[in-house]
């Protein structure tokens, strides 16, 4: 048998495997350190928890050619301004609730999870809530007792997960905070709830808006 060509030699490829793996891993560690300032709370892309004191919107940005969160005027959640520490405690309770109730096994968060129920990334500003005046109360009521509320025309419903009032409020805080994360334009082409200060009657009440919160009629 002829001599093995240099490019087919075992030792060359063993060394290549070690070097390629090592260099890739070092690059990953470098990039991880570079990314952390973007994703920490209060970082470049991820807001501090007290952002829940503000109005949060999601608009197309002509310069970046993508949808980006827009943080607006003061609009405290449940009418109460919170400090950063208080806000973090509330959001954390909400995040814990989403984990303990395994929301991700039906929904997606930031697009990750299961596909049985809608994405929650921008649920705070979803037009389905109808008006910003009733949104907070409707979200809390829905989370606490979703089963008998009409969801859609295909009969898919959310089960009652035993969510308490405190947990529901905290979950709303978490969802509001999540909607302020800069997700590089995901989801695209999203038309958020009208949150302008015009009278409530002017807010567009879409069909599913009524559907989400209305009791089952039959």
């Amino acid at each position: 048998m002829s001599q093995t060509a240099w490019w087919a030699s075992e030792s060359l490829w063993r060394k290549s495997a070690i070097w390629v793996t090592g260099v890739s891993f070092i690059l990953l560690i470098y990039l991880t350190f570079d990314t952390l300032p973007y994703i920490k709370a209060g970082g470049i892309n991820v807001p501090g928890f007290s952002v829940i004191n503000k109005r949060i919107d999601y608009q197309y940005n002509e310069v970046k050619h993508r949808y980006l969160p827009v943080i607006g005027q003061d609009e405290p959640l449940f009418g109460k301004m919170l400090t950063e520490v208080e806000a973090e405690a509330l959001v954390s309770k909400g995040k814990l609730t989403t984990q303990a109730k395994n929301c991700m096994a039906c929904h997606t968060l930031l697009g990750n999870g299961a596909y049985f129920a809608p994405d929650l990334t921008k649920s705070w500003i979803d037009p389905a809530w109808g008006s910003k005046e009733t949104r907070e109360a409707d979200m809390v009521a829905f989370l606490m007792d979703p089963t008998d509320k009409l969801h859609n025309s295909i009969g898919r419903r959310m089960p009652n997960l035993g969510i308490t009032l405190d947990e529901a409020k905290a979950t709303v805080a978490f969802l509001k905070w999540m909607s302020a994360i800069n997700t590089n334009g995901f989801p695209h082409n999203f038309k958020s709830l009208d949150q302008s200060d015009a009278p409530a009657a002017a807010a567009p009440v879409t069909a599913p808006a009524a559907a989400v919160v209305a009791p089952v009629s039959q």
Binding site: E10, T21, T35, Q99, Y115, P159, G162, P208
Partner: protein, 482 residues
């Protein structure tokens, strides 16, 4: 050794006896995965089915967790199966390995019962520790995480110590380093943070660097052994290929992690890094196809275990199409903006896990069945022309391709209607879900799932009976020059 054709643990070495236990649980959990998948699939069509009793979230959690655990058990079984033969040394700490099997299996049973019976807890840390972490794929509560980590360390010790006392082969060296990375990575999934971006960033370290890097290499190792053992491919060739695959796999897969960092709050440079490196990810999978087909051809398909060879070739092809092609189809950010979080991912996930991993583990089930019956004949001319293994394989593949294609159609439809047209609101989501195209896809997915179940039943029957009463010893494979 007992008589040919009789199932006896006396035919197995210490590691292989332990492997049989892992394989048995693995095969049972494969069945559980199918069962809960079928229930979850049915709930897409009949939303009131088991509503409030065993909800979709419970079925889905059990479906994906059973998947992770049966594959891990299959891999661990595979490693224990080859270990003594590869290292030429009895397993060091086998007693500890056996103990850990029972500890791990008890933990798995408890976790499954808690998922089924307790399901959810209050929004407190105690739920994370005792019930459910609520993080896809690694939902297992924290106490179980710690148990899994300890078990993995014992498993690692068995492998490391056995190779160290015996001999280190190329396969052994790669395996030891890979298992160290695999066990170490799991730790990155074990913390709580209120920050979902930070949470998902590290969560992907576990999920991606397991599934698209360390698992691939682990399977590369055990399949390398498979080629040597069943076909007599020369070790030098196999190990050189293994190094090439490791270089390509880690070279593309480690930074390919970037394709999960498009939309979770991470900086935009991940578009370029994730897009570029994940575009390279299919290359090692092509290499594996070339390798497997080339070897099978050079050896004129002559090998001692036809079902295992069948599943080996299926593994190369399935890995390439499922992980490579179906992954690449939606990995570039320009496409992924519309496909992320739709049934596209489910389509890719089904074919990739089955193609890359289930096939390899099933191949090992056959290797184990052969050995347990005293290394009987399993080449051509099996009784009934081997109809059971062939039909099991055909039904599993038809079912899987049916599910994959149906989910792909559903994914396309969602990308178009929910995302591109409706703009990703909840109204858009339900507009897509109630569309006849989506519902038809879910019907076909369910029917294909039943076909897959039939394949599974036949597979179990075949594994329990193949080689029974066989009097011919296994075909002798010569170590070739290729």
């Amino acid at each position: 050794m007992t008589a040919l054709g009789i199932f006896s643990s006396a035919n197995l070495n210490g590691g292989q006896k332990l492997a049989m236990k892992y394989f048995a649980v693995s095969l049972a959990l494969f069945g559980a995965q199918i069962l809960f998948g079928l229930l979850a699939g049915l709930q897409f069509l009949m939303p009131d089915f088991l509503f409030g009793v065993v909800d979709f979230s419970v079925n889905r959690t059990l479906h994906v967790n059973a998947l992770v655990i049966w594959l891990l058990y299959g891999f661990m079984g595979g490693v224990y199966f080859i270990l003594e033969d590869e290292a030429k040394h009895p397993i060091v700490g086998l007693g500890l390995g056996n103990l850990i099997f029972w500890v791990l299996t008890s933990a798995v049973v408890i976790v499954i019962l808690v998922y089924l019976l307790v399901q959810v807890g209050p929004g407190e840390m105690s739920s994370i520790w005792l019930i459910n972490e609520g993080r896809e794929y690694i939902e297992a509560p924290r106490w179980a995480d710690i148990g899994i980590t300890i078990s993995m360390l014992v498993f690692f010790f068995n492998v490391f110590a056995t190779f160290s006392k015996g001999r280190y082969t190329g396969i052994g060296g790669v395996l030891v380093l890979d298992l160290l990375a695999l066990a170490g990575l799991y730790v990155f999934g074990m913390f709580y943070t209120p920050n979902i971006s930070m949470d998902q960033f590290w969560w992907w370290w576990v999920i991606h660097l397991w599934v698209e890097a360390t698992w691939e290499v682990l399977v590369g190792c055990i399949m390398a052994y498979m080629l040597i053992d069943t076909m007599g491919v020369r070790r030098k060739i196999v190990e050189t290929w293994l190094y090439i695959e490791v270089a390509l796999m880690f070279g593309s897969g480690i930074l390919g992690l970037g394709h999960h960092y498009f939309w979770i709050g991470t900086p935009e440079y991940w578009f370029t890094i994730g897009g570029f490196f994940s575009a390279l990810e299919p290359i090692p999978l092509v290499a594996m196809v070339v390798h497997a087909i080339f070897d099978a051809g050079v050896h004129k398909m002559k090998n001692k275990n036809h079902p295992a060879l069948g599943w080996t070739i299926a593994q190369a092809a399935g890995n390439f199409f499922g992980a490579g092609v179906f992954g690449f189809m939606h990995t570039l950010p320009q496409i992924n903006l519309y496909t992320h979080g739709t049934q596209w991912t489910a389509s890719h996930g089904h074919l990739a896990f089955f193609g890359a991993y289930s096939t390899a583990v099933i191949g090992f089930f056959y290797l184990a069945a052969q050995k347990a019956r005293g290394n009987v004949w399993m080449s051509g001319n099996l009784p009934g022309n081997g109809w059971k293994w062939k039909w099991a394989m055909a039904l599993l593949w038809i079912g899987m391709i049916g599910m994959t294609m149906a989910l792909l159609i559903a994914g396309y439809e969602q990308s178009q209607i929910e995302r591109a047209i409706e703009g990703s609101t909840w109204m858009g989501y339900f507009a897509a879900q109630e569309h006849p195209w989506f519902i038809q896809a879910m019907v076909w997915r369910q029917l294909s799932g039943y076909g897959f179940l039939l394949g599974y039943i036949l597979l179990v029957w075949d594994l329990l009976t193949i080689g029974k009463g066989e009097t011919r010893p296994a075909q002798v494979v010569e170590t070739g020059t290729h």
